[in-house]
Symmetry: C2
Subunit: 343 residues, 2 copies
DNA sequence: CTGAAAGCGCTAACAA
DNA sequence: TTGTTAGCGCTTTCAG
């Protein structure tokens, strides 16, 4: 066992230990070019004994290539984003590319900072949630000279490529399904997040579709912070106490929807006969509730995978140079809470 | 608006645009040394107009300093780890340091790969989950010459510093609490994950404590994959059908515990009178269930914060050079499922 | 307060 | 198949 080295090892150390030139050592370690088996063996042995770890900083500077992909998302606390990351990693795991994650907390200025920070590492591509950015951020993305994929949302203009779903349409579809079942008195609950554009668009799509049918939301309630399940419970109680005539509750996410569902069942309210429910996201987490909540899948895994594929294929021969605009279709699942029983 | 540049901008571009030497431009952009307000202004303007983003690769190579902290965790799907990350970010957000996350999927070889990959960026520190690593990984950590903090678990030997809880003790504490309430016929449910050492240690601590009191686990069941809530339901049904005499069910995590709870309530079984329940983690997510599940807090946020603080303070004047060994004490919360009602 | 020179550790390009 | 040379874009150091 050697002592802890003060100075990190360099290629030169391996070169000296193996009696092979730095250049050839470099070739061996990167599996580049032709190297005789004898030399290769010498080098590999020396590197292993010394415990040499290459310096990518120097390597990237010299080669002008960086195997990093910047991934910028609003939050890790919302399971949606880890799932997108999983999709991204599924694709990148089979390439030399490596995702680096930055979190914005839904704050535009923080997004701008994080983006700047990440671009300063000259990544090979950017995957960023949403289409809404500060002007400065948009300018950085435009000028970065690398592929940029905006994900999750396709209602708007993108800088380069985009992969997502139309939240407007998702909201409208849900409205259609609800009306079709004959519900008429609808309440809405969601997060108090002016900066969650996707939730906002769903809401807009939802109300606009209702409006076309001459229906208006009769009550609404917003929350922030705290356990979503508990908040769903509380808000549902508050709302039904205030507006006992409601026959449907639309939640902006499945967690609060689940809280609402548990509350209604506790109260012995007939779901979906007396009150119907729906959420959004298709959180797998929640399978196992007493009733399956109606929801809409946000295609999280697919979005991550498609975005990563765009970055991976960029600049490959045969790949189109055109930006991609991919709109996935969320699947509506009625579950047990959106099928009105015949009276 | 300028066209998309083929070549990324360099300091030299800013230097030429502002008529100031590269060196001084660099100083302005880093807020280092004294620069006259006039020059500073010129530089800042030029940089902003051009949309210059510094190249950290070159900067880090030259300065031999990298503001990256490698964070290596088993998974993002388990909410525990995003929460630890949140704690880490809370601390690092107020420093120039930036966390870079690598995911191992609980696979030792993947951990080794990810570690190698991250060390090749010469980060300023490493935060890594668990104390169990391959020999090669351990060697890399030892030789990296940077602070290393192993987190989550303190039952074992660490390379450098560690911050976590004793899962052995956590398991034992839970056993003690259960016995104290008079439960005697105990079943266990958990994940089928030989590589989740923390779950294993909790289980060992649990059974060892029971053994001291002459009690043995009467049934057990393991799952893998799928929705934890649903699995908790299924396993609970399976187990109670098989071993109807059980009066307590210990779950290795709160999600399956919640599934079990919902199942028991569905069945009209008296919780905690007829059957008591406990989980592990203190998942905030679950507040809002019909009954509050007994659980034990894993101190996720604190662990993240403490680990990040160790990295942050490393090498600061006045900071101790000694490795830190921090064992936090998980809080037991009895909730509504571990208080046996007087018969 | 500002600038010039040297070099961080590696790889592209070329020469042998 | 192997080695040599010249940088990559920045910061350190030292001189003005």
């Amino acid at each position: 066992m050697t002592d802890r080295p003060q100075r990190p090892l360099t290629l030169r150390d391996v070169s000296e230990a193996s009696g092979v030139s730095e250049m050839t050592v470099s070739r061996v370690l990167r599996n580049r070019g032709d190297v005789s088996d004898a030399t290769r063996k010498k080098v590999l042995e020396a590197a292993a004994t010394l415990g040499y770890v290459p310096n990518q900083i120097a390597g990237s500077l010299a080669s002008q290539r960086v195997n990093l992909v910047a991934v910028i998302i609003p939050s890790l606390g919302n399971m949606v984003f880890p799932e997108v990351l999983t999709g991204i990693n599924q694709i990148l795991d089979e390439t030399p590319l490596q995702a680096v994650v930055g979190v914005t907390d839904y704050l535009p200025e923080k997004e701008e900072r994080v983006l700047y920070e990440m671009l300063s590492w000259r990544p090979s591509g950017v995957i960023i949630a949403g289409l809404e950015h500060t002007d400065a951020a948009r300018a950085m993305l435009t000028n970065a000279g690398i592929p940029v994929v905006e994900i999750m949302d396709t209602d708007g203009r993108c800088v380069d490529s985009m992969v997502g779903i139309s939240h407007r349409r998702a909201g409208a579809e849900m409205a259609r399904a609800i009306l079709k079942q004959g519900y008429q008195h609808i309440g809405f609950m969601g997060t108090k997040m002016p900066l969650d554009h996707r939730a906002r668009k769903r809401f807009e799509g939802f109300t606009e579709h209702l409006a076309k049918a001459g229906v208006e939301i009769e009550d609404r309630e917003f929350y922030s912070g705290g356990s979503a399940l508990a908040k769903g419970r509380e808000m549902t109680k508050t709302m039904l106490d205030r507006s006992p005539d409601l026959d449907f509750l639309y939640y902006s996410n499945d967690m609060i929807g689940a809280g609402g569902l548990l509350y209604l069942l506790d109260q012995g309210i007939d779901v979906p006969g007396q009150v119907g429910l729906a959420g959004f996201n298709g959180v797998e987490l929640l399978q196992g509730l007493p009733r399956q909540l109606a929801t809409m899948d946000a295609c999280r895994l697919e979005i991550g995978r498609a975005a990563a594929e765009i970055i991976r294929d960029h600049g490959q021969e045969g790949a189109s140079v055109e930006p991609h605009k991919i709109t996935l279709t969320p699947k509506l699942s009625l579950g047990d809470t959106l099928r009105r029983r015949r009276v």
